[in-house]
Symmetry: C3
Subunit: 643 residues, 3 copies
Amino acid sequence: MTQPNLSMKRTLGTCYYPEHWPEDIWEEDARQMAELGLTWVRIGEFAWSRLEPSQGQFNFEWLDRAFDTLHRYGLKVVLGTPTATPPKWVCDKYPDMFARDLQGNLRKFGSRRHYCFSHLGYREQCRDIVTRLAERYGAHPALGAWQTDNEYGCHDTTLSYSDAARSGFQKWLANKYGNDISKLNAAWGNVFWSMEYAGYPEIDLPNLTATEANPAHWLEFRRYTSDQVVAFNRLQCDIIRKYSNAPISHNYMGRITDFDHFKVGADLDIATWDSYPIGFLADRAGASEGKQRHFMRQGDPDFQAFHHDLYRSVGKGRWWIMEQQPGPVNWAPVNPDPLPGMVRLWTWEAFAHGAETVAYFRWRQAPFAQEQMHAGILRPDSAKATAYYEAAQVAEELLQSPTTDCELADVAILFDYDADFSWAALNHVKDGDYFELIFDHYRALRRLGINIDILPASHRNFANYRCIIVPGLMHMDADLLSCLENSDALVIYGPATHSRTETLRISHPLPPNLSNLDVTVARIDTTRGDMPIPLSNGGHALRYREVLEGTATPILTDQQGGAIAVQNGSSVYLGAYLQDETLIQFYNHLLTETNIETLQLPQGLRKRVTKTEEFWFNYDCETMDTPHGTLEPAGVLRVPRKS
Amino acid sequence: MTQPNLSMKRTLGTCYYPEHWPEDIWEEDARQMAELGLTWVRIGEFAWSRLEPSQGQFNFEWLDRAFDTLHRYGLKVVLGTPTATPPKWVCDKYPDMFARDLQGNLRKFGSRRHYCFSHLGYREQCRDIVTRLAERYGAHPALGAWQTDNEYGCHDTTLSYSDAARSGFQKWLANKYGNDISKLNAAWGNVFWSMEYAGYPEIDLPNLTATEANPAHWLEFRRYTSDQVVAFNRLQCDIIRKYSNAPISHNYMGRITDFDHFKVGADLDIATWDSYPIGFLADRAGASEGKQRHFMRQGDPDFQAFHHDLYRSVGKGRWWIMEQQPGPVNWAPVNPDPLPGMVRLWTWEAFAHGAETVAYFRWRQAPFAQEQMHAGILRPDSAKATAYYEAAQVAEELLQSPTTDCELADVAILFDYDADFSWAALNHVKDGDYFELIFDHYRALRRLGINIDILPASHRNFANYRCIIVPGLMHMDADLLSCLENSDALVIYGPATHSRTETLRISHPLPPNLSNLDVTVARIDTTRGDMPIPLSNGGHALRYREVLEGTATPILTDQQGGAIAVQNGSSVYLGAYLQDETLIQFYNHLLTETNIETLQLPQGLRKRVTKTEEFWFNYDCETMDTPHGTLEPAGVLRVPRKS
Amino acid sequence: MTQPNLSMKRTLGTCYYPEHWPEDIWEEDARQMAELGLTWVRIGEFAWSRLEPSQGQFNFEWLDRAFDTLHRYGLKVVLGTPTATPPKWVCDKYPDMFARDLQGNLRKFGSRRHYCFSHLGYREQCRDIVTRLAERYGAHPALGAWQTDNEYGCHDTTLSYSDAARSGFQKWLANKYGNDISKLNAAWGNVFWSMEYAGYPEIDLPNLTATEANPAHWLEFRRYTSDQVVAFNRLQCDIIRKYSNAPISHNYMGRITDFDHFKVGADLDIATWDSYPIGFLADRAGASEGKQRHFMRQGDPDFQAFHHDLYRSVGKGRWWIMEQQPGPVNWAPVNPDPLPGMVRLWTWEAFAHGAETVAYFRWRQAPFAQEQMHAGILRPDSAKATAYYEAAQVAEELLQSPTTDCELADVAILFDYDADFSWAALNHVKDGDYFELIFDHYRALRRLGINIDILPASHRNFANYRCIIVPGLMHMDADLLSCLENSDALVIYGPATHSRTETLRISHPLPPNLSNLDVTVARIDTTRGDMPIPLSNGGHALRYREVLEGTATPILTDQQGGAIAVQNGSSVYLGAYLQDETLIQFYNHLLTETNIETLQLPQGLRKRVTKTEEFWFNYDCETMDTPHGTLEPAGVLRVPRKS
């Protein structure tokens, strides 16, 4: 991970759709944006049907005028490429460009993201419109940044079971395994059920098999799919860079793990994400029913922070929020009004985690189409909505803390998309997945009041870290393991870490096979969520537990004395899922031992430290005590750090 | 609404399938029907394969004999057109006549309702068989009435995603929007995600889009679909009227809102419906688990009454029950035996709401095929089943109250199928729909012991009403609003009333935009069902709540003082869903203020007043007190009104 | 039922996949198997791609060497035909050989069981490979037995909606009903909804109809489907018998009722089944949540015994366990580690029910492909897993009890696959099925500590039995009824027994129409699972209850005096589902009256008596008392019988 980007200006922005409004109100919109203190305006990402209403007929004049209007008020444009919404004529030109769902059904025109990443014809079509935009606006004085496409993976659109995907997958495999297909058969263990192939054209996609397909087959298909997103995005970056020096970004989503964000991010200058704390509470944050009730108007108190830390890493230090929830949205199971103050809290929390920019989605609520119930900074009648006032307050507060000042944390968690693919392929814990495991650990650490960095599995320089946590990393490169084993930090492995080869075979010798720690996973015991396993010193393991053998010292045991976690010096192996509170105590013990100072925060209170300030955020609907006094619901406390 | 049809004879009937039984028992069946006191026998509606076993080969002789047999015993025939069950040869002639489900799968031959309303070839085939029947039986002395088809919309067969539907939809849109497709694009807001069309042939059906389609797209598709049912039905009426003076009916179902029953009803003389109180309890009445337990053997105490009042309106005053549940049915999740007395109660309740006829489905339980577990008046072995004795009791009681005597109510609710289409298209409240909202209000009013009329949104003469209730009518014609605003009645609007244009855009100025009442819906707050919002004087709003601004006087507020309902003179706006008991108190207050006398009835007791009698119905399994003494479970009390 | 096969040697075995392992470890594997005391090794059943990697290219040498290696250590081979896993080239040769699911989707290559039983081309392909194997190994000195295919019906692969199935079904019907299709129309009651056919080519499969198809249509399709499994299996048996005298077996599964195991079994010498007590607990045993928690590490205490008794009957006295769960599996919702001792308990329980052989699946855990999380006797690293030690203990204990010694029981339950087809077709009790009903009765009897025999509906000689129980046998042959009515045993019929004709019409006179017992089912009352019907002497009926009329003496009544069960001499009719405890008391009363000695066992303790020993099994996680002292969790007590 690159150092966080210090001393960038903290700025605000919004998402705007000039094509949705009569041209005669653009001027007043721009004036009001500037008055509110916004710096950035993202435009264009759904406007293809207005930019090119039929093949080769381009209408850029209206967009020129929009650029000029915004420019007149000193606003900087983020220009989105419109490839998430190909117009009807593109779909008619390539009738097989749609993705197919798991059941094989076409996912048709009529909304958005109706394309298959594997379709090469569609990629060529994208090349054309992106080139035109880059040529025309790449050097426009108002242009501040680019966004490629919009929300890759949203609406479950990464995985596609189309013909294009099948033939692409066959070529990708041929390229990986080479002429001798027996290598693939051996690597996947296809002998198991006579699943051996005689040639690449025989290999179908892993959906719709009579019963479950080989997990190695799924894993490779997920890798292939991820690579198509990378290629699709890279094509756009390569074009843009020919015509423009402005930084390129993409707006990622929360808890989408279908493609490798680090690999996409390698081609971009800035990572951004679309943060909908209340919208994400039920389905993405995976909060319990009780938590969903308690935080109904606030969002999960750790879900945003996790993604801030993740995308800071994906962005190699540079990251934004491209779409910040400004009020009720339209698309979640329920769409409550945020608790007054939350828009400000979410904004400041992003800045505390190093965001350069927070942009609110959207400027004005649209009175039509799919998102007509989605709030904006303005109401449909242009009156100011709640978000306006909270954004105005932040704009004023930013005068005192104008620049980013993030620093490296003491504690890091490794997060690897390929590991997520493995967990999805293997179905290792029923109803459990890799993201959940990582997020469990992250939440426990956050409750201890510490800063956390999230690192990719390609990271090698761990010199700054005093504690490195590596749960669930099924396949681990030998040099990563070597780096970790040679690090001075406390390294906490498991569960399931270093348990599989690159093609998802159980490793030999049996996992985790660590040089510093004599421990072997003899077998795995998965259990009902309502049958927790009590531990000898209180607390519980639950749902997943490895039976550990070996001579390493147990530091957590069940009531029969069976080891749950073992330690040797600075190496720890944890062989189970732990209940939330048990995991907090586990880390509290280990961090304290490592001389990392911890606090035990209540459910809704969170802390984050930057180079210059200590931030306290109250996600709760009750007033909370902090060392610096009480903090009202939705309150933000900023305390200068003594240096 | 036409005045209820006064002084028609109250009669009983049954549904009979001569083709299911050996011809030598028809005579005895007819004799027993007459002996029981029945007037009407519906026949023929599933007999196409016996009437025309192959194209053009007609066998009417058996039906002639059935007519004659029934006629000999003084019974009157309702003849059903058999178009709900096209025989196999019709399907082979038009292999694309099947509907397609939401996933695009054909819904094949082998049960019933296996046709797509949009298929014009099938309509022509229907023209032929209906013409033959009308020619032959239109003037038969036994013929008393007609029924078109059977239960339009049952088994979710209104909406179809077939090729015929697509091309019909395109023509319907072209007809509505005219040559300039940009009018459609503008009305729908298709610019939103580059969903703009260059011509009508580009417009697909709204299913199987990558994510949700434009709500305007859905709304228009629902309107188109509804119009096909109207056209399908009208074709039959036009033929029948050429050959017959007998009134024409159709047997509607409970809680089917997929087509506009008022528009279908405009072409018919009588509305009838198929009332299965216990069968409908779980899935259609939407009763809570507790209510489903309590009323397991009785049915929801308001669901029948609602449909009685609805179909009285659809039938312009004339309505029947064509199929009355006589005992356990076969098709609900559980099929309990009714509480003894319920068949009589259901029958009298229908008469109290103005029914001319109650016909029991079916005469004799069939020992074969799909409905072999469905009770009849007789058992499969021709022994008398429970319903026989309860029907006999009603037949005797009718001697004292032989004629219909319904009168207009003081209170009316507007119910509009197009509004239901809008709610379905917009998904305004998650897991909430328009029917549920209307039924919530209806139930609350019923618990106050008053008569209610249900009116279509095309109604304009409100002179008779002292209170008019208009919840959820998203789009309202200007002249309807004007009629309401000029009425002397107390008018209660909302939630969501007058909030959208005809193509489902948020109205400008913001809703509800009423001339008598200064109130604006600033935004909408939807919340979990287990997180009710406590009100300042007790009670709760829940799930859906509009944030109201403006100067109108709050009459219901939350504990922070936010307005839930506001009033100015005789105009009231309610901006939330209320819990059942809260809604009852809300109406109790308003009706009392309007000098409409109310009672507060317990959960299972209901009251209905006609011109000459006061009826009390005990749906409960416990004895209940009434002002006229106690009433046993399943009891019916008829008290003459003092005049 | 043939007498249980007395005095066969009790043996152990395992399932082994030489093709999964380097050839240089086969020798050591064989040596260890022999050392552990195993007799049998099943091989080959998934190895087609290694035996015939392309059409006509046979590689048998490796299998020869595997045979020889095992032979050298005195092990006997069960050779499986590999037809459950056709290689890719077979699927490419017959691209329409895949089954289609209920929605019509192909179930493609990439796992196993990817064939449709109706596909005649695939059957021919199977003929070829089976012939080659039978020729080559039929007389090999190591060959001890054959297995056809693998787990017919696993992964819901019996029912297929393919074109091959449709055309096979039409021919099967033509063969059954003959030239005059009106016989079929009459038998099915197709007149009901104009579903009449003019010829067999018109008859489609019963899936994807607009609403539910005729239950008679479903029933015949299930019978047709079952017959295809029989034919598929018979083809293999016929070939094998030409070349080999070794007995032929198939490994059935738990709770698969999609085909008639008795008919398949008629062509085989030995029935075997694959017993996964913990894997089956949630989905197949149908255990309540509380039971699933209590027996999470043990499995349902009756599910194995039921299948032991069933397959003893299917095997005409000869039966094995071909796959015994040895530790955690990979495919259930949760996969816990068994309670220590359970592998031994399960093994002894099988022997107590007459098993000749118990073979553990599998020898060594595979580190790759779909089942890599499935335990074996050895771990993937060849270390001994838990099952090794428990199997070793059994091997030693067998020295004292070396031979089978099963005897006929006093009490028999009739179990009929055709009855299951009827229940599935008619959907008689919502969420209830025939297996559940039979298993309810079986469990109640087991709790009374008695031995039970399970008999097919083709059984006629009941001389040995003192009590015969016949629940749910909707259609009963006249001669079976006559045998039962003439038997000296107490015969307990119902619910739903003798209620339907062969094509699922309600019988006339109404059911049960017994000559010894005047009782008639007037109608059926199905009710919510949470609304049990209290009985007059305690206990409850629930979910399904027949309203009984007639003069027979009630022996169980509801609180209104309505009969639930009636008796006349040695004939009893039970007209309801009873709660578990109520059913136990019902049987306790009747068996005691019949002088069959009962015990009332606690939830987890079970007893089984053989000719020479009394066995006690403790499925509980607590210590239990027996008449012979306490028994630890997972304990097995063997007490010699006094003779």
